[in-house]
Amino acid sequence: MKIIIFSLISLMLSFSALAQEEKKNVIYKYKEYEVIDLGSLEIKGQIMAPGDLTVNERERQSFKRSLLEKNNFDFENRREIENLR
């Protein structure tokens, strides 16, 4: 039994040592250049935006200033009492 365990462990160690050696030798290669022909590309879907540029028409903004209103006579009424006695 001891012999089997020992041989298994030694086997595993030898495999990991081999794997480390293989990692070191990996070489990545990329394409030096690639040509994409956009004209020949096909995109599936629907056009949502209008073809030409548009601006919504709206009325010119006019600012209404508050002009004098006479909603009550509080000022005059109060003054009349003050001037009574």
């Binding site: 006019s62 200033r65 508050s66 002009l67 004098l68 006479k70 909603n71 009550n72 006579f73 509080d74 005059e76 009424n77 109060r78 003054r79 009349e80 009492i81 003050e82 001037n83 009574l84 006695r85």
Partner: protein, 478 residues
């Protein structure tokens, strides 16, 4: 006739002297807690009303009971000296006395301090049958009016005008009659104002017709009527009413608000140039004068007599100082309070002269003279303050309306720019100035042509006949 007048004067003087003597005896011998009350009564009997004030005040400071005699004395003092009667007493103290004269003074004082709830409660203590209930109804109506409780306000104003009318008929003195007439008309005008606030302009205008043209209140209602016509879109009538203030008879009545209303009326008739002229005139006339008045106020703000002296100064001195001062003083002279205070000042001075003429001088008469001197100084300072306050209010009014005019000017410039864009200005330059066709008239209204001169009987009935320059209105008319 001369002898009779002399005899009456002698009798009055003798009576006054006797009462002063009676008061002196009480001052010397009486040590009871009612001494001050008795001295005050003796002085009032002798027509020394202002001299009696300190004794009444001292008594009320420490005593809670008011008998019938004292109630009558306080009432006499209120009639003869106004609010001075209980001047030294605080509101808390006055609240504990439940007699009509004190309730009226306290209610008025609280109203002027914006304590409306308390004022209403105090004024409600005055019985309806009492002569002071007329003024109480007016102030209570004003409180309800400010609270926008219009139905209650209208009821109170109506009660006030009825009571004042009855008192006017039953009063014997000319001054008293005039005072009750003033109260009656004030209450009628108040009812009309409530109608304007409720946007019932036609009804308001009918109520205003009750005020006689000769009335003291009449010049003031022109402004109200102009506003009612303005909201009825009768801008020509509004212009006619506001232009009335330019008549020589109403020279002293100047309202910056009238200028704003005039400019607004032109604006609503789309007559931009006319409106702009009014706006520019406002800035040219009112602003420099307001600044001059402000300078006068600033220089004399700590003086207690400057403005009163100005009142006594001759017309030329006032005119040289500032033309508005003369007009302001004239307008102030027409206020009831000012006249009452001025009458009080004169009466207090006369009383002091009477005291100085007494043969038997003693420490009591000296105390009376000292008190009267202080009272006279107080009334003088009060009148001085009143005039100062009137000038201050006027300056504030100008500033307030300058802001309205500024907004209107911006609006006018904007409208003129639009017209230039629409090439409308050229087309309007040849418009006619006015025509009878554009005058709206009711059966109760007169109409007079204005030919550059004012006629007293025509005042208040002028209407312009300007055609509107507003495009949509013209189309509608066609």
């Amino acid at each position: 006739m001369k002898y009779l007048a002399l005899l009456i004067a002698l009798v009055v003087a003798a009576d006054a002297s006797a009462s002063a003597k009676g008061a002196y005896e009480l001052y010397q011998k009486d040590k009871s807690k009612d001494r001050d009350k008795k001295i005050a009564h003796e002085l009032i009997e002798g027509s020394y009303y202002f001299s009696a004030i300190p004794y009444i005040n001292t008594y009320l400071e420490t005593n809670n009971e008011i008998d019938k005699e004292l109630e009558a004395d306080i009432e006499t003092l209120v009639i003869k000296t106004g609010t001075m009667a209980v001047l030294n007493l605080e509101e808390k103290r006055l609240e504990s006395f439940n007699i009509p004269s004190i309730s009226l003074i306290l209610g008025t004082r609280l109203f002027n301090k914006d304590q409306n709830l308390k004022a209403y409660e105090i004024l409600s203590r005055i019985p309806d049958s009492h002569q002071f209930s007329t003024e109480a109804s007016l102030i209570k109506g004003t409180i309800r009016n400010l609270e926008r409780k219009n139905i209650e306000a209208l009821n109170l104003y109506e009660q006030c005008s009825k009571k004042a009318g009855n008192l006017e008929s039953s009063s014997k003195g000319e001054k008293l009659k005039r005072y009750y007439n003033y109260l009656k008309e004030t209450c009628i005008i108040r009812s009309a104002r409530v109608k304007i606030e409720e946007k019932k302009y036609e009804e308001a205008l009918v109520i205003y017709e009750q005020i006689d043209k000769r009335s003291y209140k009449w010049p003031y209602i022109l402004m109200d009527q102009a506003w009612a016509n303005y909201y009825l879109k009768d801008y020509n009538r509004a212009l006619g009413l506001t232009v009335t203030y330019k008549s020589p008879l109403l020279e002293s009545y100047f309202f910056p608000e009238a200028e704003v209303l005039m400019a607004l009326s032109y604006y609503n008739l789309c007559l931009w140039d006319d409106s702009l002229k009014v706006v520019d005139h406002f800035y040219e006339v009112y602003q420099p004068k307001a600044q001059a008045l402000k300078d006068i106020l600033g220089k004399n703000k700590s003086s207690h007599t400057y403005f009163l002296d100005l009142y006594y100064a001759d017309t030329k001195t006032r005119e040289d100082l500032n033309p508005f001062i003369r007009n302001l003083i004239t307008q102030t002279r027409k206020q009831v309070k000012f006249n009452l205070d001025l009458a009080s000042l004169k009466a207090a001075k006369d009383e002091l002269l009477l005291l100085k003429r007494l043969k038997n001088k003693n420490d009591f008469t000296e105390t009376l003279e000292g008190n009267l001197d202080s009272t006279i100084s107080f009334i003088s300072a009060k009148i001085n303050f009143y005039i100062k306050k009137e000038i201050f209010t006027f300056i504030n009014e100008i500033h307030k309306h300058s802001f309205s005019m500024f907004n209107l000017k911006l609006e006018l410039l904007s409208k003129k720019r639009d017209d230039i864009y629409n090439a409308k200005a050229l087309a309007e330059s040849t418009r006619a100035r006015g025509s009878d066709v554009n005058v709206n008239r009711k059966t109760s209204q007169y109409f007079f042509d204005f030919n550059g001169s004012f006629w007293a009987d025509e005042l208040g009935d002028y209407s312009f006949g300007l055609q509107t320059a507003c495009r949509e209105n013209k189309v509608a008319k066609k």
